[in-house]
């Protein structure tokens, strides 16, 4: 579904450019949940941004559903891939109603039966139509994240990129969102690429995890290995230890 080969990226700076991704290799199968963990600034978001077309000028090869990403336009990409952001407060336009937020992707694509789709998407994320006329500031963080997810799935993408979708939320709300993601995954056969700094969250959702440190993937482990402490790299061990200590 997604295959990333020797992806490198230099952030062009005002004085000198800085390498923030170095030789990344990942391949993700259809319907798989793949996780990315790592410390802050290790380049997790950057990988997603490369995929989403936010960063241009990377080196290497990225293919989505076998098609080279470099050759697909943003518009085409938007049909297969959507993204959910970390901060539910910043991801929704503060002056758009929920209706408008959900309507926009449909309007851009020029799709019909808009209201049905909107209602369905809302139902998928466990909200009802009473939310439609509201503005984001009238929703709680969890509800906003649900709307953001609804916006992502309303175009029926195959892949959803999740950038720390719960790290801004309270643990109790986090649980709700994680449950939602699990059930969506199951129902729609979505492919997830999820970023988090919390090993526990990743392990809950994903079958495989890539551990990142300063722009590189230090290792890719499966959930089972993780649970058994079957990890090679020292940094992964630190992460694991921390995660376990929290239980």
């Amino acid at each position: 579904m997604i295959s990333i080969q020797s992806l490198s990226f230099d952030m062009p700076g005002s004085t000198k450019s800085k390498r923030i991704l170095n030789d990344i290799n990942i391949s993700i199968g259809k319907g798989e949940c793949f996780g990315l963990v790592g410390e802050s600034g290790s380049g997790k978001t950057s990988i997603l941004k490369c995929l989403a077309g936010q960063f241009q000028g990377w080196e290497g090869a990225i293919a989505i559903q076998g098609k080279s990403l470099a050759e697909t336009s943003l518009k085409e990409r938007s049909n297969t891939m959507q993204m959910v952001f970390q901060d539910p407060y910043g991801a929704l336009h503060p002056r758009h109603t929920i209706r408008k937020i959900l309507n926009e992707p449909l309007a851009i694509k020029g799709l019909s039966d808009k209201s049905e789709r909107i209602l369905k998407a809302l139902k998928d994320v466990g909200l009802d139509e009473t939310f439609l006329p509201r503005y984001p500031h009238q929703l709680s963080g969890g509800q906003r994240q649900r709307v953001a997810i609804a916006r992502a799935i309303i175009l029926d993408p195959d892949i959803i990129l999740l950038d720390e979708p719960t790290s801004a939320l309270d643990v109790s709300v986090q649980a709700e969102i994680l449950n939602l993601l699990t059930s969506l995954h199951r129902r729609h056969q979505l492919t997830y690429l999820m970023v988090s700094h919390d090993l526990g969250v990743i392990a809950h959702l994903c079958e495989r995890v890539a551990v990142m440190k300063s722009g590189e993937i230090v290792e890719v482990v499966s959930r089972d290995d993780l649970v058994e402490g079957n990890v090679a790299h020292a940094y992964t061990k630190v992460l694991l230890q921390h995660a376990l200590s929290r239980e």
Binding site: N79, Q82, S140, A148, D170
Partner: protein
């Protein structure tokens, strides 16, 4: 880990989780009430409202024809017949002031509808596209900003010839750059915001993003800026009038009234005092209003 302070459930309790829906109107009324709670902002609102009333109902409020000369009653001091006295042609100063509010509003209105859209367009495009578009636009704004606005306006009016329309054009030419800069700065912070990225991911065109997402967010601060700008516009127009380059006689423009009244100032203080006070009051009102609006929109920094 992320800064948890950023994420503050402002309405904590369960009850608040299902807070009542605000309609736009209700929100507006609420904001307006809040604006009026501050006595300073409220007085700004009142004065601006008075100005509007004066302009709309000028014929009803004015006691005389503002243009009618009466050489027999020149420079009469304030009295019951002429509340603010008469000028050197025997025209009623009060009525001229009242009609002058139309000129003032006309200038403000024209300048604002030129400056707002132009500034918004240039600023947002510049900020959004970056690269050479940004460079070109910003160099142009730099050039315009490099002149003090009064000097530039002077130069333009001198170039175009004196007159109200020319003054408006000159003022507009000089006052769009700060607006554009503001819009650009706002756009720069918005450009990478998640909701804009989300829209791009959904395949929204640049146009759509600019008009549906970014402009909308720039508007509040732009409105504040424009409101404050109105005060400057009034002063610049008055200054142009004062230097004889603004509205031309017999139009009762306040600055021009001061300019001509100045010759009679020592004996006939009312010729200068009232228009001066009017300019000050209205300009102050717009400043207060802008201040209040800013408080409303950004309560932390003023």
């Amino acid at each position: 880990m992320k800064n948890a302070e950023v994420v503050r459930n402002s309405d904590y309790s369960l009850k608040a989780r299902h807070n009542p829906e605000y309609t736009r109107v209700a929100l507006f009324v609420k904001s307006f009430k809040k604006l009026c709670r501050n006595p300073l902002s409220a007085s700004g609102v009142i004065i601006v409202a008075l100005l509007l009333i004066c302009a709309i109902a000028a014929p009803l409020i004015a006691t005389h024809n503002p243009l009618e000369q009466d050489l027999a009653r020149v420079l009469a001091s304030p009295s019951l017949a002429h509340w603010f006295g008469t000028d050197e042609y025997g025209r009623d100063v009060f009525s001229r002031l009242v009609y002058g509010s139309r000129v003032t509003l006309y200038i403000i209105f024209l300048v604002t509808i030129i400056v707002g859209p132009v500034g918004l367009l240039v600023g947002t495009m510049s900020g959004y596209f970056g690269g050479w578009v940004d460079s070109v636009f910003m160099r142009i704004t730099d050039i315009f900003i490099s002149f003090p606005s009064l000097v530039l306006a002077l130069a333009f009016v001198a170039a175009l010839g004196p007159g109200l329309e020319h003054a408006v054009i000159a003022i507009a030419i000089t006052s769009w750059p700060p607006v554009a800069r503001l819009a650009r700065a706002e756009t720069l912070t918005l450009r990478n915001s998640d909701y804009v990225v989300a829209a791009q991911l959904q395949g929204a065109s640049a146009c759509r993003v600019l008009f549906h997402y970014i402009s909308l967010m720039c508007l509040p601060s732009l409105i504040v800026r424009l409101t404050m700008n109105m005060a400057t516009v009034i002063l610049t127009a008055a200054a142009l009038g004062f230097l004889g380059l603004g509205a031309q006689p017999p139009l009762p423009e306040w600055g021009a009234m001061i300019s001509t009244g100045r010759s009679y100032m020592l004996e006939s203080w009312w010729l200068v005092a009232f228009p001066g006070a009017a300019i000050m009051l209205v300009s102050l009102a717009f400043n207060l209003l802008g201040d209040g609006l800013r408080d409303l929109l950004d309560p932390r920094t003023e």
